[in-house]
């Protein structure tokens, strides 16, 4: 079969140890952290590390959920609006006297359920995910306004503050929750059937179906997980302020969550990417946002700075991959756009 040339030393090395795909963007993250740390003493403080992660936790959860959906080749536009809905439902339940842990679980359930409905629409009604979740976004951003008449709902049960303001072993609870969820998610993707099926459906839906994968179940599961992650976001947001606002999460959150996943190497075309990658992407975005405020970057410049940093980061990552000498991997995007459809494909040389 295809020839191996042991005289080509670098090939042998390459085979012996391959850096994981996430290395590149992780290095970019380290560089960005380094630059901000050099610029600002306050940025270097340990407490800032906690705050950075804390402030990034909501987008982190959304990015986590988004990853499941993106892996199947879908997209979830409703994830920000899910924060709005669950963020007011939780305090309403608390007002009704439901103990906070139960209210929190119910909220997660509602998030998963609402997500599952998107999944059902995508799979059975066969509407493109963009449209199905666009509609879900509309519904989920109207619901809290309608229920509350645009008023905020104050949380009456002080225990609920634990979710957003508590600390476990010195780490903010939202960060602990996110880390746990990300680990569980990564284990799920790697060590369960359903996890592999998510990749399979996104990689080649038709082939997955022919192999006997239950596409319906897989699709619905992905959207339900994303909905649940959105509900985590809603719980954290509301708990941090102890007030539920009907328009929380309707800002940059959605965008940032998709961007985090894509920066971390998740393909919008499905089938490629990992949770560690998406989480590194989310931390990168949180770092840039935090760093800009800590170092007092003028707000007019902030969109530009974040855009440029992310572009540079991804470009560096892309370049690093191209240097690995694996032509098919030259660029992940090329691999996706051509390699994917193009089976063996052409060396990405265009």
């Amino acid at each position: 079969m295809s020839a191996h040339h042991t005289d080509q030393g670098c090939d042998v090395n390459l085979r012996r140890f391959r850096w994981p795909d996430e290395t590149g963007i992780f290095v970019v993250l380290l560089i960005v952290l380094g630059v901000f740390a050099a610029l600002s003493e306050s940025f270097r403080s340990a407490s800032n590390g906690g705050i950075l992660l804390l402030n990034g936790s909501v987008v982190g959860f959304l990015a986590l959920g988004q990853t499941f959906v993106l892996l199947t080749g879908g997209i979830d536009l409703s994830t920000g609006a899910m924060i709005a809905t669950t963020g007011v439902l939780a305090p309403i339940m608390l007002k009704a006297g439901i103990p906070w842990p139960i209210a929190a679980l119910l909220t997660l359930g509602i998030g998963a359920g609402a997500g599952a409905i998107s999944g059902i629409v995508v799979h059975y009604v066969k509407v493109p995910p963009f449209i199905a979740t666009f509609a879900a976004q509309g519904v989920l951003s109207s619901i809290p306004l309608i229920i509350t008449g645009a008023n905020s709902v104050t949380v009456t049960d002080q225990g609920f503050a634990f979710i957003g303001q508590g600390y476990l072993a010195g780490i903010p609870v939202p960060v602990v929750l996110l880390i746990l969820a990300a680990i569980l998610g990564a284990l799920f993707l790697r060590w369960t059937k359903a996890g592999v099926h998510l990749y399979a459906v996104g990689g080649n839906r038709a082939a997955a179906r022919l192999a006997g994968v239950n596409i319906a179940r897989t699709t619905i599961l992905a959207y339900a997980l994303s909905g649940m992650c959105g509900a985590f976001g809603g719980l954290i947001a509301t708990s941090r302020l102890m007030v539920g606002f009907p328009n929380t999460g309707l800002g940059n959150e959605l965008f940032f969550s998709i961007a985090a996943a894509v920066v971390g190497g998740v393909s919008l075309f499905g089938g490629i990417g990992s949770i560690p990658g998406a989480m590194i992407g989310a931390v990168l975005i949180a770092t840039v946002s935090d760093g800009m405020n800590v170092t007092n970057v003028n707000s007019y410049w902030q969109p530009l700075v974040i855009g440029v940093i992310i572009l540079l980061g991804v470009a560096i990552d892309t370049y690093r991959r191209s240097r690995r000498g694996n032509p098919i991997r030259l660029s992940r995007w090329n691999a996706i756009r051509s390699g994917r459809r193009a089976a063996v494909g052409t060396p990405a040389k265009s």
Partner: protein, 315 residues
């Protein structure tokens, strides 16, 4: 303190030339059309309710359109008012520049316009040939100024090191920030503004960016939040960083939030319901041919320790 409806700081005023008014004004229940930027901010929720209630009292059919913070939807809504040939329009522009274009359109259609809360850009109104019957709103600059005074008073001899939790993209809020800064530096040469962040008028965003600002500037002892939602987020940010007692907040008032003696020590409130009421009443007068003042600057209402602004007294 607060002055009663109709208090006028402007001069001149206008009177309704009954002949020039739209036909609709002669009907039993003429239409008062209101366009508001959004109804996700409790401020505008209060204003809308007041327009509905007081407009009806003043004998109007009230039609409220919400622009969802988009200039182009607001323009569309104003055009739709022109189509429906309403009697009078109360306009709270999303932003003042585009607001002028809307005023000009309405003037061209011979529909009288009242601006409320946010005025339309006067230069553009003038150059575009439009006219505004009356503006009703708070004196933004005064709001910033009184909060600066309160901060300096509470600090005693210490200089104020200020971080602004602001909305840099709206002229009204920028006015508040500028007035705050001008007052604080004028009165105390050692005081200064060291940082400002964009809160996007969202409590959640405010919480995040204010924590980050306080991280980056441990020397800050005073936060000025120029909107209610920013105040909500700032309070939590200060509390959760354990800076309560070290950092004091002055703000435009947050909804449902009581002031205290340690952290949230002063706020200035606008009174959206009152502005709406003044507009409704004066619009009724105007179409009857009476004269109304051209500018109504309501002073802001100041709250301090222990007080809680009412439902419709907001930043």
């Amino acid at each position: 303190g607060c002055s009663g409806p109709g208090a006028s700081t402007g001069s001149g005023g206008a009177s309704g030339g009954a002949s020039a008014l739209p036909a609709n004004c002669k009907s039993d229940k003429p239409t008062l059309a209101v366009s508001l930027p959004n109804t996700v901010n409790p401020y505008y929720v209060a204003m809308r309710q007041s327009f509905i209630d007081n407009g009806a009292k003043a004998g109007f059919t009230v039609k409220v359109a919400i622009a969802n913070d988009s200039d182009s939807s607001q323009l569309a809504q104003v055009q739709s008012f022109i189509q429906q040939n309403v009697c009078v329009v109360a306009l709270n522009p999303v932003t003042s520049g585009p607001g002028a274009a809307e005023v000009n359109l309405l003037t061209k259609a011979h529909i009288p316009v009242f601006t409320v809360n946010i005025d339309a850009d006067r230069d553009q109104v003038k150059s575009g040939g439009g006219s505004i019957v009356e503006y009703v709103g708070a004196d933004q600059k005064e709001g910033g100024k009184v909060m600066a005074d309160a901060a300096l008073e509470d600090l005693g001899s210490k200089p104020a090191v200020v971080g602004i939790a602001g909305e840099p993209n709206e002229t009204v809020t920028v006015d508040r920030d500028k007035a705050f800064e001008a007052e604080i530096t004028a009165k105390s040469s050692t005081s200064k503004v060291v940082a400002s962040v964009d809160t996007k008028v969202d409590p959640q965003v405010s919480l995040q960016v204010v924590t980050e600002m306080l991280q980056g500037h441990p020397e800050i002892n005073t936060v000025f939040a120029d909107t209610g939602p920013a105040a909500v987020g700032s309070i939590q940010a200060i509390k959760q960083l354990g800076l309560s007692g070290k950092v004091t907040l002055y703000a435009f008032c947050a909804a449902n939030t009581k002031l205290d003696s340690v952290l949230y020590r002063g706020c200035a409130a606008q009174q959206p319901s009152l502005y709406a009421q003044i507009v409704a009443d004066n619009a009724a007068k105007f179409i009857k041919g009476e004269t109304v003042p051209e500018m109504v600057f309501q002073p802001v209402k100041v709250f301090t320790e222990g007080q809680q602004p009412a439902e419709d007294e907001l930043g």
